[in-house]
Symmetry: C3
Subunit: 373 residues, 3 copies
């Protein structure tokens, strides 16, 4: 390492290093370090760094009904996602790390930065840092492998986004037969500054949100990639997640969310969907929960050829208390130039907002090129 | 790719990968992937990633006349540009990508993120994403190969900066004999949020700014690198660009800009310059345009030796309506340690602001080290 | 380099490039370029780029006494440091560069971006750009090799952080026997915008802060890495730094800071500490300085085995004028899985704030995993 390097380096008594670089499902640098420790034992250490990016450039058009006319509400080019990521393993293939920074829309921010250690690979692993809370299936699903241009509108209502915390799991993103995850998170993505509990007169030592998820996966399914790009026989996954935000309990304001979801693929056809609900505390006890919003979506797509996939989705969000119902129906067409790494997606449809007195409709069209290198 | 990698990867049935890394006008990782598809056909895919940066550290001094005295208006070290970029090609050398993030002055933001596909290399290419709008020659010119410490003051008046959009061209940055670009952009770099057209009662489906540029290039000129670093016989380029911002038409506020420019190099000598004008709509019709500002600059430099280049520039901006005239005259000296990649530039001069009642003068000195790796 | 590359490239008449990549105390790409100049002379140019990161994920608990009770003031997961860095050398091993960006807590910013040239390696070197001002020993010390979870609270009072400037030195971070640094900096990290001196009626051409540091290093000590990870005989370092901020002189507000510090290591034991003071101008002359705050800390640690190191620190800050005294006492335990590159640190203790009328106590617990790749 350089003399004026900001990083601190490991010193080894006797080490030999070999390396290689290239492209293998991602640009990489990999190296080995053969060490001899003080007792003469040899060990080989493994290091890998991958550099990747994702660019999603979108044209986004939104037209709203206003009275009897249609009004242009939005017409723009949008750098929907401008990502840079660095991932790999360090010392051992079982100790992995991932960093992802977003430069979307000109506001850089950290999305992922975590380490993952496989105590028993695929059986018992631990993760620490910041990453997307694995509550909704559609949020675990990479933004680079969505069935339509973007996620369902239910995601912005029920999703958890990126949060700092820790969890244990059995490599849930790889869809093992009985998949599970359990974790604790800050539960306050937007405010990581000092949280003061003025009204608390007893020390309370832990106020996190807790998240649990299980799924049953049948067949060799990739449960977190929509679309049946590679084809194959019938495969499916059934999942369920729950989370409770204890953090707001102090004002009798705890919140609970739950979801059940599925994905099914067969011979180029795929369908997936989910039902979600959220409750708010409505009394002094944590169990006095009041249902205030439910959501669901269902979507399906089919590969007409290796490259062409039409798809459609229906979503709805029902605000129980406010008597407001939002529907979205979208149809789309995807063209895969190089799998999910280089593809062009277009979708169009309507968003309808129903209230007791009024019904508003807006029409949208989005077309987006994705490059994931 | 790693199991907990944020990016989604391509799966190939049967692929062999080879790779290499090093320095060749930039640090790079390159790889090939030899694929056999289902029909037994072999294809070779090409991948390349380059990592680069640019650091421009400047000492900046500004002294203003105030009454009869000279006052120090500014004395500072400035991290003028702190860039990190990732560029390369993906699947084919004809499909290129580029990302550039700026960390200048502590405010990170995305500058470039685009893809470029050469349908016919050098003849017909398409570009999509965010990059510097190719309106002014001096803006297409990289900030790493300027003749003086920074661009002319006309650039801040007439330049378009970085914007999201799409365009077609014949590899304009490489100065083909008849160079052309045509594109559409958001035209609203500073506000990518919802644009509401409250006063519109008809749906209007496209409100972009459109930009066109042509140039004639004689000899093997690099039209977007000032200075004749390599020497050679007489070469020159003549260019013209126009743009109209339809986006503001709704309030009878469309704007139009035009420029003509040149660059000439011969035997170590170089000169370049441009004239620009901008009009504002001044009536109900799009054609009711009112000239409100003009600008011009001319600059020249000469290599006394391989490393030493004195240079000078005169710029003026004339605000027609406001009766204000701004001049800038600068002289400078450049020392090239390793071409444009490692050089030290110094310039000094005066800025004069003339109004009917007053003439203000300020003196500036800037000295800057550039590293582009 | 790519045609649509944002960076400008060096052209060489006749150059051959060879390269290598891997892991050697950091992921790297290195290359050589054998050039033949116009006179037929051969030169070999050396290039190296290293990519690294640092992730520190912390659980942070703070409990404050309020009246007779203890109150939870803070309980959170914290992405304490989320860094990405690019370092290396360019053209020659003597010309090094370093960039470090922080994505901590979701607010990306530039920390380091500088170049360093060794005119005489280890004897006379120059540095230009932005980096951590080498005033406090504990700030020169990388955040990846601290003895406890974070720096002493004296650092937030007396530290200078990252600033733009230039300096000369004899490779001070490598602890040569007689180590020295002298530099000038902006002195205004938080405000790099126009500084106007309204009350000055004479032009004044330079208003920087100046910093000097010297140290005597005995034995083969790494003076800027706490802890005696590798063991060895007695080694120590004694240092002293001073700085004056002339920038505020215009309002008779110049400030001066000074520190003396030490570090000693022997056979797995290490101790370090510092005394600091700061004065403010208290009259019209620059020499009318008034002491207003002093600070000190002392810390020690011992390796019980190759991996396990208990440690402790006492810090105090004494605000002379305000009659306020802050103490902090911490005990900690460090587990080194792979040197400083992968380690787990925990510390706990009390912060006591004494004023003439009151004594407030808070208790803290922090546990943090560090990965530096």
């Amino acid at each position: 390492a350089q003399g004026n390097d900001p990083k601190e380096t490991v010193e080894s008594n006797d080490a030999q290093s070999t390396g290689v670089a290239g492209y293998d499902d991602g640009f990489f640098i990999a190296g080995q370090l053969d060490e001899t420790d003080d007792d003469g034992n040899e060990k080989t250490r493994h290091f890998r760094l991958e550099i990747g990016g994702r660019l999603q450039t979108q044209y986004d058009l939104l037209i709203a009904e206003e009275g009897e006319d249609l009004d242009l509400a939005r017409s723009r080019f949008l750098i929907r996602r401008a990502r840079l990521n660095v991932t790999g393993h360090f010392v051992s293939p079982d100790f992995t790390y991932a960093m992802q920074a977003a430069f979307d829309r000109g506001n850089p921010e950290l999305l992922d930065y975590f380490v993952n250690y496989a105590f028993e690979p695929g059986t018992f692993e631990g993760r620490l840092g910041q990453w997307r809370v694995p509550f909704l299936r559609t949020e675990i699903n990479s933004s680079g492998s969505l069935l339509l241009v973007d996620r369902s509108l239910t995601t912005s209502v029920f999703g958890e986004g990126f949060d700092a915390g820790m969890g244990i799991h059995n490599n849930y993103k790889k869809s093992p037969p009985f998949e599970w995850f359990f974790g604790v998170f800050n539960g306050t993505q937007t405010d990581l500054e000092v949280v003061s509990f003025d009204d608390a007169n007893t020390p309370t030592f832990f106020y996190p949100s807790v998240v649990g998820r299980v799924a049953y996966n049948y067949g060799d399914i990739k449960g977190y990639s929509t679309g049946d790009l590679k084809g194959g026989p019938l495969r499916f996954s059934l999942g369920a997640s729950g989370m409770t935000q204890f953090g707001l309990q102090r004002d009798n304001e705890s919140a609970t969310k739950a979801t059940v979801d599925y994905i099914l693929k067969a011979h180029g056809f795929s369908t997936s969907g989910a039902f979600m609900l959220a409750t708010n505390q409505d009394g002094e006890a944590l169990t006095d929960q009041n249902l205030f919003v439910t959501g669901l979506f269902v979507q399906a797509g089919y590969f007409l050829s290796e490259m062409i996939q039409p798809a459609a989705r229906y979503s709805r969000v029902d605000y129980e208390g406010d008597d407001e119902l939002v529907h979205e129906a979208l149809g789309g067409l995807n063209v895969y130039f190089w799998g999910h790494s280089l593809k062009w997606q277009t979708d169009a449809g309507a968003i309808i907002v129903e209230t007791p007195n009024d019904t508003d409709t807006a029409y949208r069209l989005r077309t987006q090129l994705t490059l994931s290198f």
